[in-house]
Symmetry: C2
Subunit: 114 residues, 2 copies
């Protein structure tokens, strides 16, 4: 459950602006502010089932966008590369050409990725 929540929140960060304002509001209240379906229903003056459907459609749209553009996947990978390059650079104490080349190789991989 937590894993799914985290994924939806990350997808919302990437693709939120492509959703309707109502979808964004419902996702924010449910996933960020931890409101219940009933509380959101009261706030939006729609039925509990309506909120449920709204959230499901919004989540499905996010998953569909990710399937098409893979932004989350690409950025996760980019971040992994960046972490590695930072570790490498932090480790350079002298003119260690081999390490610098390693860092460069990763940076080129990032360049191909984005």
């Amino acid at each position: 459950m937590i894993e799914k929540t985290e994924k939806i929140i990350m997808l919302k960060d990437f693709y939120g602006p492509l959703l309707t304002q109502k979808q964004q509001d419902a996702l924010n209240l449910y996933y960020e502010d931890d409101w219940s379906l009933s509380e959101i229903a009261d706030s939006m003056a729609i039925s509990r089932q309506g909120v449920y459907d709204l959230l499901k459609r919004a989540e499905q749209a996010l998953l569909d966008y990710e399937q098409r553009l893979c932004l989350l996947e690409r950025f996760s990978l980019t971040r992994e590369h960046l972490d590695k390059v930072i570790m490498l650079l932090n480790d350079i104490k002298s003119a260690d050409r081999q390490k610098i080349e390693g860092a460069l190789e990763i940076i080129r991989a990032i360049d191909d990725l984005i």
Copy 2:
């Protein structure tokens, strides 16, 4: 004109998968393969005006996606940063801590950006 063409091609690389197959096909034929509106019209069995409208709607969709997600802008900036960090790293001949710190600062900026 060339500038607009390049921008549309770059936007198509980012957001193409969000367009309909027909829109993607028309954009590819017109911008990548340099077909005329009439040639595309013949190929798609629609009117020349129909192709024009199809292209206009596709281009507007691309611009709208960019306005919402700013992927092109963000990636252009990321690429600039990467170019700088590569130049910096290439320039390191010895244990030049200052340059390494400079590179790290840029990498952190990339990290904040993505």
